[in-house]
Amino acid sequence: MYLLILALPLLGSLITGFGGRWLGRYGAAILATTCVLLSTFLAILIFYEVGLSGTTCYISLAPWIESGTFHISWGFLFDSLTSVMLIVITVVSSLVHLYSIKYMENDPHCPRFMSYLEVFTFFMLVLVTSDNLIQMFLGWEGVGLASFLLINFWYTRLAANQSAIKALVVNRIGDFGLSLGILVIFYIFHSVEYMTIFSIVPFFTDYYLVFMGFSIHGLTLAGIFLFIGAVGKSAQLGLHTWLPDAMEGPTPVSALIHAATMVTAGVFLMVRFSPLLEYSPVTLFTLVVFGSLTAFFAAMTGVFQNDLKRVIAYSTCSQLGYMIFSCGISCYNVSMFHLTNHAFFKALLFLSAGSVIHAVSDEQDMRRMGSLIKFLPLTYSLMLVGSLALAGFPFLAGFYSKDFILELTHISLYPNLNYGAFSCWLGSMSVFFTSFYSFRLIYLTFMNNTNSNRVIVNSIHESSFLMSLPLIILGIGSIFVGYLTRDFFIGLGTNFWGSSIFILPQHSNFVEAEWLPVVTKWLPFYLSTLGILLASFINLTPSFFSFVLKFPRTLSFFSFLVNKKWYFDILYNRFLVYPSMYFGYSVSFKNLDRGFIELLGPYGLAKLMPLWSSSLSKLQTGQLTHYIFFTILGLCLLLVLVLFFYSPLFSFSSSLLGLFLILPFFV
C-alpha cells in the first residue's frame, strides 16, 4: 500500500505518456485519473493509519549509492507530516485530473498532458515520502522538471516557452542553494538521512565551520541554504518572479502546481527541517523577515493586477509568505495547517478561474468580464466560497489557519519572542489587501456590468458536470476542512504530529495564543471586512473609484508601480540578466573561448606556423654570400653550444664565448 501510492502515478504516467497514441484521448485521461484516484484512496488509508492511529511507517527499499561513509538507500518515511502532504497532493491532483478531462477536451495533446500531470504527482510524492535529502532532491528536481513541461505544454507559444524557462532557471537558483545545503549538512553530520540528522542536531548547536578565517555557525549555514531552496520553490521575495509568469500554462496546471503542491514543497522542507531550524535563531529570523515581506509585497501587488490568474498567483505567493513566517515564529504545525487549507481553497479559486476563462472564450483580463453572476451561478458561488475562505471569513478554512497565524504573531510581540512585530504588522496589512483583491476580483468578474462583446456573452455557458464536480468537492473542502481538522493540527496539546515536528519548548507559544485580548483576536476579521467593504464601495460606485485614481498624480503613479509588480522583473533584467548574458557572450564567449584560448590553441598555432615558416624561408635569398654567412654563423653557434654545455671548465670558456659572440659581428 505504501509503495503502491508512489507506483501508481508513475505507472499511469508511463502508460499514458508512451501509449497515449493507442489509448486515445479518453482512454489516457481515464487511466491517468483512475491511477491518481486510487492513490488518493491509498493516501486516505495512510492518513488513517499513520496520522490518526499514530503508526509511523518506515520502508527501506534498496541501497542506492554507497561510497565510504556516504550511504543512501531508497527509503520511504511515512510520518504524520508526510501523510498530510500525501492527502493534499493526491486529493488536489486527482481533482485536477478530473477537471482537465473536460478542460483539455479539445486539445490535441491530451495524453501528453495527462502524462505530465501524473509524473508531476509522482515526483511530488517522492519529494514528501523520502527519508533522505538526496531522494528528496530527486523529487524536488522532478517537480521542477514537470513544472517546466507543464508550463511549456503549449510549446508553440513564445510566452509559454519564455515563462517555462524562467520558472526552471529561477527555480534552479534555489536548487543550487538547496544542494549547497545538502553538502553542508553532509559535511556537518556525515549523513543525509533525516533520522540521523534530526537525532544528532542537538549535539551540534555549538558547531562552527571555519572558512577563510571566518567561523560560521554550522546549523545556521545549513538552514540558510535550505531556506534559499525554499525561496526558489515557494516563490518567496527575491525569487518570486517566476510564479506569476508561470500562469502561461493551462489553468489546471496552475491549480495543481502553483497553488496546491509544488510551491508548498519549500514550506514542507522548512517544516520537515524543524528540528534543525529550531536551533538556529538567525535562520528563523530570516524566515520571518522574508516570509512577511513576501506576504505583504505579493498581497499589495495583487491589488492592481488585471489578469484573473495573475491575481490568484500573487495571492498564492502571499499565502506562501504566511506559511514561511509562521515557520519562522516556530509554529510549524500552524504552517502545515494553513498549507492544507490553502491547497483546498486555492485549487478551488484556480479551477473556478479556469471555469470562468473557459466560459468567456479564453479571455483572462478581468476588465473585459463582468456580470457573469447571471451566467455562471455555480462558479460564482464556489468562487465566493474560495474568496471568503482566502480572506479568512469566520468558520471557513482560512479563518482557522490564517487568523491563528496572525494571532501567533501577536504573541511574539511579547518580549520573550523577538522580531515578531515585523511579521505582525506586515501580516495584518496583507490581510486587508488579500480581502480587497479577492473581492475586487469577484466584483470585476461577476458583479459589475459586462465589458465583453456580444458574441462572447452569447456563448457563455456553465461548464459541464465533470468540471463542476471537482469545484464542488473543493468548495466543500474549503468550507469544512479547517473546522474538521483543526483539533488535530493545532489543537491544544495535540499529539498528531508526533515526532515529525519539533519545537523547542522556549519557542512554543500556543497556550498564550488562547488568552490574547479579544480585540487582537478580532483584528484580522476587522481588517478583512474593511477590505471587503472598500472593494464593494469602490466597485459599486465606479465614479468615486475613477475619481480617486485620477485625481492625485502620486496615487496613479503608485497604482502603475504596483501594476508593474514594483518593476522587479525589469530591475532583474536590467541589472542581473542582461549583464550576465552580456558577460556570457562578450567576455566568456568572445574574449575567452573564441578569443584567448583559441589564440593559444589551434587557431593561433595554425595562424602562426605559416607566418614563421614563410619568414624562415625568406632567409634563403638565393645569394651565395648569405648562405655562407649563415653557415659560419651556425658553425659558431654550434661551437659556442658545445663549449657551453660540454666544457668541464666553464669559467675559462667564457672568454671564448665572448670571442665567438664577437666573431659574427666582426664577420
Binding site: 624562415l616 624561408s617 625568406k618 632567409l619 634563403q620 635569398t621 638565393g622 645569394q623 651565395l624 654570400t625 648569405h626 655562407i628 654567412f629 659560419i632 664577420v667
Partner: protein, 101 residues
C-alpha cells in the same frame, strides 16, 4: 722565427681573411674560388706547422693530400665556372639568385 704563436696566428688570420673574402665579395666568383684556395692554404700551413712542432709526419702527409684535393677541386670549380659563363655570360655572384626559399 718559426714560433708557435706566430704560426698559429698567421694561419688563422689567413683563414679568417679567406672567409671574409668569400662572403664580403659580391662581384666576382673567381675571387671566391681564390679565397677557397687560400683557405686550403691556411689549413695546410697549419698542418705543416703542427707536424713540425709535434715532430710527426702525418700532418705533412695530410697537407700533401689536401694539395691534391685542392687542385682537383679548383679544376672542377673552374670547369663549372666556365660552363656557367657559357650559359649566363656573366660570373657575378650577385646575380646567382635563381633558387630562392
Amino acid at each position: 722565427m718559426l714560433n708557435q704563436i706566430n704560426c698559429i696566428s698567421i694561419s688563422s688570420l689567413l683563414f679568417l681573411i679567406s672567409i671574409l673574402g668569400i662572403f664580403l665579395n659580391q662581384k666576382n666568383i673567381l675571387v671566391m674560388l681564390m679565397s677557397l684556395e687560400m683557405m686550403f692554404l691556411a689549413v695546410s700551413f697549419n698542418l705543416i706547422f703542427s707536424s713540425i712542432y709535434l715532430d710527426d709526419i702525418v700532418g705533412q702527409v695530410f697537407s700533401l693530400l689536401i694539395l691534391t684535393v685542392a687542385a682537383a677541386e679548383s679544376s672542377i670549380g673552374l670547369a663549372i665556372l666556365v660552363v656557367y659563363y657559357r650559359i649566363r655570360g656573366t660570373i657575378t655572384v650577385e646575380l646567382m639568385s635563381l633558387t630562392k626559399g
